[in-house]
Symmetry: C2
Subunit: 222 residues, 2 copies
């Protein structure tokens, strides 16, 4: 693909959306955010979109399996078609994507999750990690499957957990990495370099990891 | 504690046992392996023990909840008492430790697991990680609880998964880290620097992680 159109779903502040917009405007990725959709009317992500002259649409979703949910699913598909969206990016979207979007965009929906999946799926990945007491945490960009947080993994970033961390400080450390790996995953998709084999993602000509050694946390004294 | 006695349980080759013996003989840890127990008569770990003049005992275990299993549990406790064992180290021991040992050595049993727990518990951590398609893997030393692979985490090492990895190559990369983190965890225990709060482990004066940045895998191009 030469250049792709992105439709981004947000429920909140949209800092990952901002990272994607920034990467696009800096021509770091062959992709343009053409549409932002939110289930929350007051999601700051919608405001971010408007500030960059990107169409921003509030689509109320209702309860799962309600008529409103099904209608929202249809509306999503119509909007994505209208804006010629090639790739759907979930960026802190707290609802399950409907079956129509899932079918229409099979293997063309990405999600970012603030944990080293399959650890800590769900809506509180960072707090769950802090409470569990892991010494290494991280984030994951993956293809979205209909089941939450389970799809094939494209890229992960691992960070150490420090002794004084709580959920918030850990979330901030993870978020800094989210802003790096999500645009990268989008760029590989735009370059048609991602291939799913079984449930593994092959990245054509994958660059070596940023660090080849191990993160050992806490560190070693002996 | 000044110097502690270790009882190590193995089922197989015992390379982690060897790493612990080596660290002890090099005076890197304030601990001596005084007893090695295996459920398998031909476990090479028993042979390693004998080569270092360490008592090596084959204790057949039978099926879980069988009379033989209960008898083995009693025998374990007797052996550990006889050798004045302070800390039990599970090192590739493929059976569940019995309730008598668990009670007698509450918060004094360590286990090493070849995955970044809570991801991939169970007996095939490395293969499961490779099959799942994670891009970061690792290993964990934790206090053993009666449920497998769930106890409070002392130290973790994260390593990148490379494009050509299979379960074996990934297991080798992880194993190199296991040999570093297990002796370190034992040393902190010997120094009485480990404290469990809720389910987190506080390491007194914890050294900073070996790497403060993130492992991003695959690496970044943008």
């Amino acid at each position: 693909m030469a250049h792709i159109n992105l439709g981004v779903f947000v429920s909140g502040g949209g800092t990952n959306l901002q990272a994607i917009i920034d990467a696009s405007e800096a021509d770091k990725i062959d992709a343009t955010v053409v549409l932002v959709i939110s289930d929350k009317e007051d999601a700051y992500g919608l405001e971010r979109a408007r500030q960059h002259d990107i169409s921003a649409v509030h689509v109320p979703v209702g309860r799962n399996e309600s008529p409103e949910y099904a209608a929202a699913d249809q509306w999503h598909v119509q909007l994505l078609a209208e804006y010629d969206v090639d790739l759907v990016c979930l960026a802190g979207y707290m609802r399950l994507i409907g079956p129509e979007v899932m079918t229409t965009y099979a293997e063309a929906i990405l999600n970012i999750h603030p944990a080293l999946l399959p650890s800590f799926p769900g809506t509180h990945g960072q707090d769950d990690a802090a409470d569990y007491g892991v010494k290494v945490a991280g984030c994951t960009v993956h293809f979205a499957w209909s089941e939450f947080d389970t799809g094939p993994i494209i890229i992960q970033a691992a960070v150490p957990v420090l002794p004084d961390d709580d959920g918030d400080s850990l979330a901030a450390r993870i978020l800094a990495q989210e802003h790096k790996i999500y645009p990268q995953a989008i760029q590989w998709y735009a370059q048609d370099r991602l291939h799913i084999q079984d449930r593994r993602v092959i990245v054509d000509n994958a660059p070596p990891p940023t660090i080849l050694e191990a993160i050992i946390s806490p560190g070693l004294e002996i």
